[in-house]
C-alpha cells in the first residue's frame, strides 16, 4: 500500500508541476479537485432545474420533450442539456482524480478517516444520480440502461416482483414509472448534497468553490463543448427491438459491459468488495499512529489562535475549568488531531526566547515539543561552519531533510506551519545562523491544508503570531516546493547562501551562543 501511494504521489507530481507553471499554484486545477466537483454539481443543478421546466413524463412524452429541448430550443435548453451531461461527467472525472490524489497524499488515514469514508457513499450516489438521468430520456440508450439495471437489481431478493418485467413491452411500461424516475433523479442528488455536507464536517474552512478564474475557464470550456458536441438522444426506445449498439457514457456506464460478461451476482460482489475495500482503506496497514497535540493550561490563556488555525477542527474552546482568570481554555479532540503542529505554531507562548520559565507552550506536540525544536535548532547551529550558514525548517512531507549542502542544516518538522515566526527571529538574533529557510511542501498544495497559508500570513505580519518588524527579512527564505523541485530548491538555497555571504555576518548577538545552548 505504501509503495502504491508513493508511486501515485510521484505520478501526480509531474502534472502538478506542469499545471503550476500554466495556471499558477492558486489556479492549479489539481489543487481544486473537490471544489471543482462542487462547481460541476451546481452546474448540474441549475441546468437540471431549467430542463425540468420542459421535461414531460410518459413513455412517448419523455422522448418527445427531450427532442424539443435538444432541437427546437437548442440555443438554450439544448445547451443546458449538454451542460447537464458534461458537468455530470466532469463530476465523475474529477471525483476519480480527487480520490486518487487524496490517497496519494495519505489523507485517508488516522484522524482523516471520516472524510474518506463519507466519500464512499458519495461515489455511489453520484452514479445513482447519473444513471437515473439516462432513463428519463427514454431513447435506445435509456432502454439499454433501464433493462440492464433492472436485471441487475432483480438479482437482489428485495423486490416483490421482477423490476425488469416493467420493460418487457410498451404495454408493461407505465407513464407513472417516469414520474417515479424523475422523483428519484431529484431526490438522490438532494441526498447527495447532505452527504457532501457531512463529508466536509471535519475540515475547517473547506474549499467548496474553485478559484474564480478557474471556475470561469471551466464553465467556458463546458459551454464550448456543448456547442461543438451537443448531447443528443440515440433514437426513441423501442421495446420490440434490442438496442444492439449504444453510445455509452463511459463515465457512468463503464461498468455495464461487465454485466454482459459476468453474472449479476459477480458484479454485485465486485461492487461490494470495491466499496468495502475503499471503506476499510483507512484501517489497512500501515496504520498511522500519531500522538495528538496536548494542552498545558498553565501556559494557555484561551486566546483561540490555535482554534483559528487548526485545519481539522480538532481544537476548540470551552469554559475555563482551572479557576484561572480567563474566559476560555483550549481542548484538543484526539480523534480529530493529525499532529501537524500548526496549533503549536500559532500559540503566542511558543516563544524560544523564554528563559525565566521552561519552554512549554499552551499547546504543544508530544512528538516534537517546542523545547525539543529549540534544542535541535541549537544543535543544528553547532554543526554549521563558514559563511552563509543556513538553517532549514523542512516539511517532512515535502523535500524535508532531503536538501543538504555545505553550510546548510535541515530540521524536519511535520509542517512548516508548526514553526512560529519567533523561532526565525530567535535563530537570527541569537546568531545561530546567517539565514533561515522554510521548506514547505508545495504552494497551495500543503499536505496539512493551511500550513503554508498561515506561515505566509504570519511572515507578512497579517496574522498572529506575527514576525517582528525588526527581523531582517532578507535573511529569511520561503521555499514552497513539490517533490520534483529538488533541483530548484538546491539552486535557490545556494543562491540564498550567496546573498547571505554578500550581506555579511549578522550584528553581534546580544548573548553568547553558548549560553543559549546551555539554556536550551
Amino acid at each position: 500500500m505504501h509503495y502504491l501511494r508513493r508511486t501515485l504521489r510521484w505520478g501526480f507530481a509531474a502534472p502538478e508541476a506542469l499545471l503550476d507553471r500554466c495556471f499558477g499554484p492558486a489556479w492549479n486545477p489539481l489543487y481544486h479537485l473537490g471544489a471543482l466537483g462542487f462547481f460541476y454539481y451546481w452546474i448540474v443543478v441549475v441546468s437540471g432545474i431549467y430542463l425540468y421546466i420542459f421535461f414531460d413524463t410518459g413513455t412517448t412524452a419523455a422522448y418527445r420533450s427531450v427532442e424539443y429541448i435538444t432541437y427546437e430550443q437548442w440555443y438554450l435548453a439544448g445547451v443546458m442539456r449538454s451542460l447537464h451531461r458534461y458537468a455530470s461527467d466532469g463530476m465523475v472525472l474529477f471525483m476519480g482524480v480527487h480520490i486518487l490524489r487524496e490517497f496519494s497524499l495519505d489523507r485517508h488515514r488516522g484522524a482523516r478517516w471520516f472524510t474518506w469514508v463519507t466519500g464512499v457513499p458519495i461515489l455511489w450516489l453520484i452514479y445513482a444520480s447519473g444513471i437515473t438521468g439516462y432513463w428519463l430520456v427514454w431513447d435506445k440508450l435509456a432502454q439499454y440502461v433501464a433493462i440492464v439495471t433492472a436485471e441487475w437489481f432483480d438479482y437482489l431478493p428485495i423486490f416483490g416482483d421482477s423490476v425488469a418485467r416493467n420493460f418487457l413491452s410498451t404495454e408493461h411500461l407505465d407513464d407513472r414509472f417516469f414520474t417515479l424516475m424523475i422523483f428519484v433523479h431529484i431526490a438522490v442528488p438532494l441526498f447527495l448534497l447532505l452527504v457532501l455536507w457531512l463529508h466536509l464536517q471535519r475540515l475547517s474552512r473547506p474549499r467548496i468553490n474553485p478559484a474564480r478564474g478557474l471556475a470561469i475557464g471551466t464553465f467556458v470550456t463546458l459551454v464550448a463543448l456543448s456547442f461543438i458536441l451537443p448531447a443528443e438522444s440515440q433514437g426513441p426506445a423501442d421495446l420490440a427491438r434490442v438496442p444492439a449498439v449504444v453510445k455509452l457514457d463511459w463515465f457512468y456506464l463503464g461498468m455495464y459491459p461487465l454485466l454482459d460478461v459476468f453474472s449479476n451476482g459477480t458484479v454485485w460482489a465486485t461492487a461490494g468488495v470495491i466499496t468495502l475495500m475503499l471503506s476499510a482503506l483507512p484501517w489497512l496497514p500501515p496504520l498511522r499512529r500519531v500522538r495528538p497535540a496536548v494542552v498545558d493550561l498553565d501556559n494557555c490563556n484561551g486566546c483561540g489562535r490555535c482554534v483559528e488555525d487548526c485545519p481539522y477542527v480538532a481544537v476548540s474552546l470551552r469554559i475555563r475549568s482551572d479557576g484561572k482568570p480567563f474566559e476560555h481554555e483550549v481542548v484538543v479532540d484526539p480523534a480529530l488531531c493529525v499532529a501537524c503542529g500548526i496549533c503549536a505554531g500559532a500559540c503566542p507562548t511558543s516563544m524560544p526566547f523564554r528563559r525565566a520559565s521552561e519552554l512549554v507552550p499552551g499547546i504543544d506536540l508530544p512528538q516534537l515539543p517546542m523545547k525539543e525544536l529549540r534544542r535541535r535548532l541549537h544543535e543544528a547551529s553547532e554543526r554549521l561552519k563558514g559563511d552563509g550558514r543556513i538553517i532549514v525548517f523542512g516539511c517532512d512531507e515535502g523535500l524535508g531533510r532531503g536538501v543538504s549542502g555545505p553550510g546548510i542544516v535541515t530540521i524536519g518538522v511535520p509542517c512548516v506551519g508548526m514553526v512560529p515566526p519567533a523561532f526565525l527571529d530567535y535563530a537570527l538574533s541569537r546568531h545561530l545562523a546567517d539565514g533561515v529557510a522554510l521548506l514547505g511542501c508545495g504552494e497551495e498544495n500543503c499536505i496539512h491544508r493551511f500550513g503554508l497559508r498561515w506561515t505566509d500570513a504570519r511572515l507578512a505580519r497579517e496574522r498572529d503570531p506575527r514576525l517582528r518588524a525588526s527581523v531582517a527579512r532578507e535573511r529569511i527564505l520561503k521555499l514552497w516546493t513539490g517533490p520534483l523541485d529538488r533541483g530548484r530548491a538546491a539552486r535557490e538555497l545556494a543562491s540564498f547562501a550567496e546573498r547571505l555571504r554578500q550581506l555579511g555576518p549578522l550584528p553581534a548577538a546580544n548573548r553568547p551562543k553558548q549560553r543559549e545552548a546551555a539554556d536550551a
Partner: protein, 171 residues
C-alpha cells in the same frame, strides 16, 4: 525568457489543459460505441411471474381438532401455505431451449415462481412452443402455446405469461 513569451506559453498551457478536459469529457461521454447484442441475431425473452397451486388441499378441521386450538385461532380449514414448483418448457423448432421446475419465492415458499431469461437465435421463421404446469398433474400441461413466428434481426420477442389472459402471450 521574456515576460510576453512566458505569459503566452502560460495561456497556451491553460488552453491546452481545458481542451484536454473537454476532449476527455466529449469523447468518453459517447465513444467508443458498445456492441451490446450481436448483429444479425434476434432475441427471445422469456418472462414469467406466476404462483403455482398450493402444495396440498385444504383440510376441514374436526371439532376435536378445533377444540385443541386457542379460541382466536379456530378457523374451519387448515390450508398448507407453500406452493408447488412451476414447470416450464420452451421449445424452438422442436428443440428444448429452456426446461425448469421453478421453486416458489418467499421465505415460506408461498410466493410466485419467477423466471426472466433471454435466448439468442437466427432470424427467420421458427416454431415456438411454450408449456407450463402450475398444478400437481403428472402428465400434460396446464398451459401451452405453439405458434410459428417470424423473427427479424434485432427483434426482441417476448414470451409473457398471464393466467387471467389465458396463458402465454407472444409479443
Amino acid at each position: 525568457m521574456p515576460n510576453l513569451l512566458r505569459n503566452a506559453l502560460r495561456y497556451l498551457g491553460q488552453a491546452a489543459a481545458y481542451a484536454l478536459t473537454a476532449a476527455i469529457l466529449g469523447v468518453f461521454s459517447f465513444y467508443p460505441t458498445y456492441q451490446h447484442f450481436p448483429p444479425g441475431l434476434a432475441q427471445v425473452r422469456l418472462s414469467v411471474s406466476h404462483a403455482a397451486a398450493r402444495v396440498g388441499e385444504c383440510h376441514r378441521l374436526t371439532p376435536e381438532e378445533l377444540e385443541q386450538l386457542a379460541p382466536n385461532m379456530r378457523k374451519p380449514f387448515d390450508c398448507p401455505r407453500g406452493r408447488l414448483p412451476l414447470r416450464i418448457d420452451i421449445l424452438l423448432d422442436g428443440a428444448v431451449v429452456y426446461h425448469a421446475a421453478l421453486p416458489p419465492t418467499g421465505l415460506s415458499g408461498d410466493g410466485p415462481a419467477r423466471i426472466y431469461q433471454s435466448f439468442r437465435t437466427e432470424p427467420g421463421r421458427h416454431r415456438l412452443t411454450a408449456r407450463l404446469v402450475d398444478s400437481a398433474r403428472e402428465t400434460g400441461y396446464d398451459y401451452e402455446r405453439d405458434e410459428d413466428i417470424d423473427l427479424v434481426a434485432g427483434q426482441n420477442l417476448v414470451i409473457d405469461f398471464q393466467a387471467e389472459a389465458g396463458g402465454f402471450i407472444f409479443r
